[in-house]
């Protein structure tokens, strides 16, 4: 056995500090996450995240399932960007099999991904306002998200866990009402989104509570691997849609949203900007939608050639990486999901040191954590 064993003491609390357990049943941890806080008065000294309360062993389950069956497991990681998760695995399998899918399928995938990005950000906005104590935002966000869910329900048959994108294209073609409904949604939401700003973004209580709180510098964001809107809020250009366009992102103009302040407010505004940007992308894509072909011809049993494959997509929370090792069997030998939330969570300690408990809630809200994605 090589290596050396060092004795290390980990200081949990100092004399004048006390410990509070925040979670797993706490309203603002958005699920079953537990923070162990060391507090001095109300000032946070240390945050130790404890996860695993909803660990289902998806990676182990994947090793026993076929590639088509895994799709429904990916839904259940980051349930707010289920389409993107499905797409990530499908793209990985398609690249391994060297299959080119029809243009229509690509564009529909991208539209669905952008729609679920808007939906995810709406839900985030709703819950973030709730964390901040503005209780009405929750219902406004949910109300607007309802339209997106209706679009999903009409086309995919389910509202949250779609399992709609599959290796080779889509499960079935979109509903005839798909395009008109999206157009209707975009006109509706273009009117409603400024209301979000009027209600919360401009509010003086909100701005003073969020500006300068939870600063994440550019270097720290890279060092911790914080991606997605949380990373871009610190000026870290990490949008996979720009750097490695997949699906139909190379057909349209995508502007990466970047803000450099790195505080709660910049992460907040960045997500609002992303909603505008996503609507713009959808509008461009609808014009490009060709008539036929939603799936490529696939073998009934998928066997990937032995080797290792990697595919990354941009979900609503950051970069989802799929690392797949195949040994020419029906199911993967190893399937690792590089989930964005996992990396985003562990900057909590860094960001909330020295802030108040109320800020901790705001910071964890601004990182937009989805716990099942951390635990997998």
């Amino acid at each position: 056995m090589t290596g050396k064993v060092n004795k290390r003491e980990i200081l949990v609390e100092q004399n004048d500090e006390y410990i509070i357990n925040m979670g797993p049943q706490h309203p603002s941890t958005h699920g079953v996450l537990r923070f162990e806080l060391s507090l001095k008065g109300e000032t946070v000294q240390r945050v130790v995240p404890h996860c695993g309360y909803i660990h289902r062993g998806i990676e182990k389950m994947c090793e026993a399932n076929t590639y088509r069956q895994i799709i429904h497991l990916t839904d259940r990681m980051d349930y707010l960007s289920a389409h993107m998760n499905n797409e990530a695995l499908s793209l990985c399998v398609e690249k391994a099999l060297e299959i080119e899918i029809p243009q229509r399928a690509k564009i529909i995938r991208t539209i669905l991904a952008e729609l679920s990005r808007i939906g995810s950000h709406q839900l985030w906005w709703a819950a973030f306002g709730m964390d901040m104590g503005a209780l009405t935002t929750f219902f406004y966000g949910m109300r607007d998200r309802e339209m997106i869910l209706d679009i999903f329900e009409e086309t995919c048959g389910s509202r949250l866990l779609h399992s709609y994108i599959c290796p080779g294209g889509l499960m079935h073609d979109v509903h005839p009402d798909f395009v008109p409904r999206i157009k209707e949604f975009i006109t509706y939401f273009r009117n409603k989104l400024p209301e979000y700003d009027r209600l919360l973004s401009g509010n003086v209580i909100f701005t003073t509570r969020s500006k300068g709180i939870g600063k994440l510098s550019y270097e720290q964001a890279i060092n911790y691997g914080v991606t997605g809107p949380s990373g871009r809020g610190s000026g870290f250009s990490c949008d996979v849609r720009i750097h490695q366009p997949y699906s139909a992102y190379d057909l349209v103009e995508v502007n990466e949203q970047l803000r450099t302040e790195g505080d709660v407010y910049s992460r907040y505004m960045l997500r609002i900007d992303e909603m505008w940007e996503s609507m713009r992308i959808i509008e461009q894509l609808i014009e490009l939608l060709p008539e036929d072909g939603f799936t490529a011809k696939m073998k009934p049993v998928l066997k990937l050639p032995a080797g290792s494959y990697y595919q990354r997509v941009e979900t609503a929370r950051g970069e989802l990486g799929i690392y797949l090792i195949s040994d020419n069997e029906k199911s993967p030998a190893r399937l690792k999901f590089r989930s964005p939330n996992f990396s985003n969570l562990f900057v909590m300690d860094l960001l909330s040191k020295g802030h108040k408990i109320a800020d901790l809630v705001a910071i964890s809200g601004s990182l937009d954590l989805v716990i099942p994605d951390i635990d997998r």
Binding site: I20, S28, M132, G133, L135, T136, I205, I357
Partner: protein
């Protein structure tokens, strides 16, 4: 026209004829006590229902609509549920204080309601230091909150209680100072005198800008004093789960809940009484026809109309604004409200001395 004192006098005379003097006193006390307790309960239930409906309409919802017509009996059903719930006790809690705390809170809010003039003659006791009494009793309520937080032996509760303590100590100042402006105008702390002084116009109109400023400050500070959003840092649902009443259940929780709503009613009623003329109808000197029409509306309607309008505004605060952080809350008080209030007090003293008001 609508004078409650006639009614009370009639009852008093009736009792004097039939009973000896000590029995009369006892019967009258029981009657008044029953009347006010019933009113307290009904007001509490109404306010809970109103809040749920107001927030529902703000949030594009319907709100309670299952129990009774328009969900009117929903709060009654909730009350029955709370009455039957188990009273949980934290193992290492300080049992005596833990049980005492909700009663302090609820009694403090109950004691103030007697001093309010609901209509002409409809007032349990017309103290000559009415305003002073109300201010001092409302600040007793925080004692209950502090005890609840301390005795629960829970860190969340303790944090909530400490926050609440800091908050009430600060905002008490603003409340008193803004009420001081009207005391300076009327020269009396007796609530009936303050109401009578507004017979020819409410103070908010008579005292124009300086009184309007104190009215705004009173509204903000009293919202803060009642621990309501956006100043509900003592409960801070998303931070401290439920703050000082985390460990309470059943009817003891209901007491805290009820006291919060009654305090809200009290601050709205006080603002209505002091700034908006209480039960006085809307009078404009010179327009006799209008004044006659206004007089026709009973004073109790005027009083509750004004109070519930203010309650709506306070509810709108809660359902619109994000919660303030602890330090922001204190900044708001010590850096904004208090200096403005002090300057405003001097301005009002000047206005009073020079007679620059209507």
């Amino acid at each position: 026209m609508y004078d409650f004192s006639q009614l009370t006098q009639a009852i008093h005379l009736f009792l004097v004829q039939h009973l000896n003097s000590s029995s009369v006193a006892i019967v009258e006390l029981v009657l008044v006590g029953l009347l006010f307790l019933t009113m307290y309960a009904i007001l509490g239930l109404t306010l809970v229902y109103m809040e749920r409906k107001v927030c529902a309409f703000i949030q594009n919802r319907l709100g309670p609509n299952r129990v009774g017509p328009l969900g009117l009996l929903q709060t009654v059903a909730d009350l029955i549920k709370l009455l039957f719930k188990e009273l949980l006790m934290v193992k290492k809690a300080d049992k005596f204080l833990f049980n005492l705390a909700p009663f302090i809170v609820v009694i403090a809010s109950m004691m103030t309601i007697g001093a309010l003039p609901f209509a002409k003659g409809f007032q349990a006791i017309d103290l000559n230091i009415g305003l002073f009494y109300i201010i001092s009793i409302t600040s007793l309520g925080v004692l209950g909150i502090l005890l609840a937080g301390w005795s629960s032996n829970s860190k969340y509760s303790l944090l909530g209680a400490l926050r609440s303590g800091a908050q009430i100590i600060s905002y008490e100042l603003s409340v008193s100072l803004s009420l001081l402006s009207i005391i300076m105008f009327t020269g009396s702390m007796q609530l009936s005198v303050i109401v009578e002084s507004q017979a020819n116009g409410w103070w908010i109109f008579k005292g124009h800008i300086p009184v309007f400023i104190s009215f705004l400050i009173f509204l903000i500070a009293s919202t803060a004093e009642t621990n309501r959003g956006p100043f509900d840092i003592a409960e801070a649902e998303s931070e401290l789960t439920a703050g000082f009443h985390t460990e309470y259940s059943g009817i003891k929780f209901a007491f805290f809940f009820l006291a919060e709503y009654m305090n809200m009613f009290l601050s709205a009623a006080l603002a209505a009484t002091v700034f908006l003329g209480g039960w006085m109808p809307f009078h404009v000197s010179g327009f006799e026809g209008l004044n006659q029409v206004m007089d026709f509306i009973p004073p109790i309607v005027w009083f509750f109309g004004k109070t519930f309008t203010l309650i709506y505004v306070i509810m709108l605060f809660k359902w619109t604004f994000p919660r303030l952080r602890v330090d922001q809350l204190l900044t708001l008080e010590w850096k904004y409200l208090l200096p403005i209030n002090l300057v405003n007090t001097i301005v009002i003293a000047f206005v009073v001395v020079m007679g620059w008001y209507f």
